[in-house]
Symmetry: C2
Subunit: 202 residues, 2 copies
């Protein structure tokens, strides 16, 4: 065997041993509070990728879209048309906030969405709840972050996963989350005059 | 109307005008090279979220999994069982590299995956190709990054999207990408002894 190959294989063996040991210690189960934030692309699409995984495992899901509104976006069509019994889909927002220009209406929509969200999280059948773009509603104080955090800490069933997306997640929410990813924008085609692409952005 | 509400609405109106103008200038269409990298959670799940969007829009897809191997992961079951005609699914890797401990076999698997990937990208029917975890194969030089970059620049059909995931993406790849997100790990439940959760991690 070549020297480089042998060294590579030995190194891999050590990594595997360390990893096996680590994985043995990771034995707790818990419904996670997942926050996907940051300005980069991939927050909602990652949330919907997890919904796909849950459906595959027979875990009933619910999605509440807080801000994106009633545009005909791919994930909504997909889940509503084909997976209505596996994943409940609710839309509370009426479009991005810059489209509505009506703070009172935005607040009413956000509060309505949060009401639905609580019901879905409390539903013992539901195992994964995606609160898409809720961070925008929290950021503009359409919803009180303390109310949301308190509910997640005190009323979320132990094994239910809740995923909250949207940029500018509040520190209070990050504090109670189990898993946080910040999507950092390194490059975006907008800068080169390319419009949002079907299948990629919506 | 309250003062704060009026000021909010006026600000929103200005943002909307600026945004409408900007969106008018974003009128180019292009098949994107998308790179999702970084140590945080959400790279593969975001890739699969885009596959979901593409299927919803009737855009045929292909997935090549380079490293994750033949584990029964949710996204594979989901796409193979339910969307075989909308999304072709190929597995080239035999597990994470620390599982295989055999560099020659890893290289052979990666080269096989890249061969399939090229065929799928060149297929005029296919509109979105997800090369899941290919960055790992590139990082360990199982594949030559220059060969991959050259192919993307010179042979990828203009309107085909290609999404490449995996941590430690090479600078040469970032250079030619249209869209790059770095998934930054802020918090991960592994640290608290929680094992990978079904529906969330696989």
């Amino acid at each position: 065997m070549e020297d480089v190959t042998r060294r590579h294989n030995e190194k891999k063996k050590r990594i595997k041993a360390a990893r096996d040991k680590m994985m043995k210690e990771k034995n707790k189960e818990k419904g996670l509070v997942i926050v996907l934030t940051g300005p980069g692309k991939g927050k909602s699409s990652s949330g919907f990728g997890m919904v796909m995984r849950c459906i595959a495992h027979g875990m009933p899901c619910a999605v509440v879209q807080f801000i994106k509104g009633d545009r005909e976006i791919g994930e909504k069509t997909f889940l509503r048309d084909r997976f209505a019994s596996e994943c409940k889909f609710f839309v509370s927002g009426e479009g991005f906030t810059w489209e509505t220009q009506d703070r009172e209406r935005d607040i009413a929509a956000a509060r309505n969405g949060w009401q639905i969200a609580k019901e879905q999280i409390l539903d013992p059948e539901i195992q994964f709840v995606l609160l898409d773009e809720i961070n925008i509603a929290l950021r503009y104080d359409y919803l009180d972050v303390h109310e949301v955090v308190e509910f997640l800490l005190e009323q979320k069933p132990h094994m239910t996963h809740v995923c909250l997306t949207g940029r500018n997640a509040k520190p209070e929410l990050l504090e109670v989350a189990d898993l946080v990813t910040e999507m950092t924008l390194v490059k975006h085609p907008f800068r080169d005059g390319i419009k949002p692409q079907k299948g990629v952005e919506f």
